[in-house]
């Protein structure tokens, strides 16, 4: 039986009727067609499905959709402003060469944003710790770390 969930998604309040067993990732990708959030493993191990829940990173692939009720969810689609301007961390990823195949990128960008929101001037070690839950096979993380650093104004 479907149940109702009401939450803020990328700044707008929405209400959806869903099967209670859905993960947040399934809700986002399959029901709401927000395919910017990726599934890399489906087991909470790679971070490609990272979204922000009340500003904190969660692996949406293992997060029950029902539990976002009353909460604030931000996906990669919500990071650009209303005029479509890129967030500084998105710009930094582009300019620092932090993107290759791009599959980890939406999750990585959001992990970086969550880190900077909490700790605006992180050390390199803090940056590496902040994105350690997000796997990348292409970049060796170096240009990603540089991008987060650049976005922090350092």
């Amino acid at each position: 039986m479907k149940q109702s969930v009401t939450f803020i998604l990328n700044g707008e309040s929405i209400q959806v009727e869903i099967e209670p067993h859905l993960t947040l990732l399934q809700l986002l990708r399959d029901k709401l067609e927000l395919t910017g959030t990726k599934e890399g493993c489906g087991m909470g191990e790679c971070g490609a499905c990272t979204v922000l829940l009340d500003g904190k990173v969660v692996n949406s692939c293992i997060f029950p959709a029902m539990e976002v009720d009353g909460k604030n969810v931000m996906t990669i689609e919500g990071l650009t402003d209303a005029q479509g301007n890129l967030h500084p961390i998105q710009k930094a990823f582009i300019e620092q060469g932090a993107v290759q195949c791009g599959f980890c990128t939406p999750g990585m960008v959001l992990a970086g944003k969550a880190l900077l929101d909490e700790n605006p001037k992180p050390t390199e070690e803090e940056i590496r710790h902040g994105i350690a839950g997000n796997l990348c096979r292409c970049t060796g993380y170096i240009q990603i770390v540089q991008a987060v650093k650049a976005a922090s104004g350092q």
């Binding site: 990708r29 927000l34 395919t35 910017g36 959030t37 990726k38 599934e39 890399g40 493993c41 489906g42 087991m43 191990e45 790679c46 490609a48 996906t75 990669i76 689609e77 990071l79 650009t80 890129l86 998105q90 990823f93 582009i94 300019e95 620092q96 060469g97 993107v99 290759q100 195949c101 791009g102 599959f103 980890c104 990128t105 939406p106 960008v109 940056i127 590496r128 710790h129 994105i131 350690a132 839950g133 997000n134 796997l135 990348c136 096979r137 292409c138 970049t139 060796g140 993380y141 170096i142 240009q143 990603i144 770390v145």
Partner: protein
Amino acid sequence: MSLYGLHSDCSGRESSQRAVTERGVIMEEFINVGKRIPKMDAEEKVTGKAVYIHDLKIPGMLYGRILYSLHPHAKILSIDTTKAESLPGVKAVLTGYNIPTIKFGFYKDNVPLKANKVCSFRDEIATVAATDPDIAQEALELIKVEYEILPAVFDPEEAMKEGAPLIHEEHVGGKEKKPTNVLNLPWRLVSGDVEEAKKNSAYVAEDRFKVTWVAHCCLGTSGCLAQFDMKNNLTMYSITQIPSLAQRDFTEALTAMGLKNKKARVIKTMIGGGFGSKLDTYAFEYIAILLAYKTKRPVKIIFSREEEFFATSPRQCAIIDIAQGCTKEGTLTFRDIRMILDNGAYTSWGATVPSVMMMPSSSLYKVPNIRFSAKCVYTNNTYSQAMRGYGTPQVTFAIDSQIDALAERAGIDPLDFRLRNANMPGDVTPQNFKINTCGLRECIDAVAQKLDWRQVRGRKDGRGVGMASLIHVGGGARVYKSDGCGTIIKMDDFGTVNVFTGATDMGQGADTVIAQIVAEELGVRVEDVVMTHTDTDICPWDVGAHASRTTFVAGNSAKGAAKKVKDQLLQVAAKSMGESPENLDIRDRTIFSKKDPEKKSPLGKILRAAHYAAGGSMMMAECFYDPNNENLDKELKGNLSVTYTFGTHGVEVEVDKETGQVKILKYVAAHDVGRAINPMLLEGQVYGGATMGIGYALTERLILKDGKVMNPNFLDYKMLTAKDVPNIETIVIETNDSFGPFGAKGVGEPGLVPTAPAIANAIYDAVGVRIKDLPMTPEKILAALKEKESSH
């Protein structure tokens, strides 16, 4: 030759890239080449708008799932699909008993769904297409398969013995044409007289090295979407690295399905990582085609991560017996390598990696006498595939680990030993490779300088330094009859340059690099270039994204097409500007007279003049570039690539003698790249390659127990995280190769080739133990330390 990275990034080097025009005006030589231009698709990717195969939906689309074998070697006695077929939502169930025979793979020993017998745990037995992926999964669980278990073999040395279980009973080999598990592949290269050289060597080292399976770990799992039109022509949405060859494979499959003369079109979505994994076509793709044809609906198959680990093809594991010798002074005298490769149950390009392993075997450093042989052996394990480096990381681990051991025996600093034997421009190697440009000595020197080698080496105090080098094809590789790539360029009224390339961008940045090359040649800017590389109906032919060939081959092809378009533009401009074409040039979107730069015209104006004139013309051209390289001959010799790329990695490690943990304190990667078309993307290739190499060296292994993958997830398969990776310093040596587009050589694979031996050598320098078995885990290091202590 220029060298940067030792000073700053590219700022120091741009000043040297200036040319003086005839009128004495100093201007920058390049506007687009050599610039750190962001990837063209980066904006789509950072906003989540890029469409991967996982994101694709077509109305009416069904979801396909695959049932795999429960045993590594067994007869299939029966398959009962009746319950699965009657599940609501299921639109088709197929098995090996109700599909046409489609043979695929390099050895044509594989079929999409197996009938009669399974040879590995990843053998596909049945498939379901349903309206929902969960229904498809549920249907799989309703399929009943009866097996009769057969004896299995998982060790290639065991599989070579008389009386071993035969994986493919019909496969015969040798002069007597006897059934065998050894593949009929001629991997044998001899040059000079190894036995004689061995006798005359002052020092000889002999060792056995072992390397194991590692997975590509593309973050985007495998998948495809097959769709037929009303005429039974196939459109395949794919993530292949070889669109033109995949098109051929799929066309052959259509013929096998009774659809002769039907067309296959391959459309690539964004690719979530390649690294060689997508150089072949696979069972799941043929299964999607069969399901789509059966149901007359589009069918999508997407792998789970678990499937990605056990049902895709890893880097092959190998046993490497190697001997090398040198004179008293440290000049290499011979190299003798015998390899046994676990082919697994079927054959993909993994069985051909010895053809590339021969390259470092014969030509890394100057070695006059060479012998190389490799056997590929069927087992009931997973079958292997190409992976970044194509066999060279495996064999370079053995070669360059042993170089250190040999240098030690000869009492020579391994740095001096390498410098003494380093390849030089103009060399012809024992495999008949003609070395054009070669910056190997510069790479070795630069790494030594960065590591402070002379001061820090040899302390054996828990900290140590090591280095290792690489040779790789840098100017294409003629592994097929053609090594070609085509490009079509057209321009519109406003100066937009549409480039249709055969090349494949799987994240490495091929589009951006090609756009830079075109823009430079044509005198426009990268932002004027629109790249299309996704569709075999639109794009020219290419043999695929392998052998680090894209920048070189696709780059030269694009440059050739751009040159033709430029000539056309100058012809048109000559008329309207009243100048001869020879006196005209294009720079930064403007056509100008070389004699009088004030005489100029914007490009758009010339284009419109061409289009709107009576008897007008399109500014459009194609170029097919096939490098002047050679297939290996019967002796497996020949100039495989028109130029070769070199590099040296150096590393400083700290080894904890209590835990066996290796900490990388410093990592330096020096590469002779010809010319860096885009230093930022180039660094990305080196960083990513070296990181993959560090994983190969220290943490990564696909664990197979009796043929079953025991760690099919990221928790148990230890890919490195941001916390595990050290900062990597890249040093770019520019040798400006005469054959390369603007001097460039390939650099996609080299980044991980010398990593493992460099780390192995550093571990030895730190604690005096040599690990000959990858990955070099703390357990192995501790065991070696213990053994060393007990032997004292």
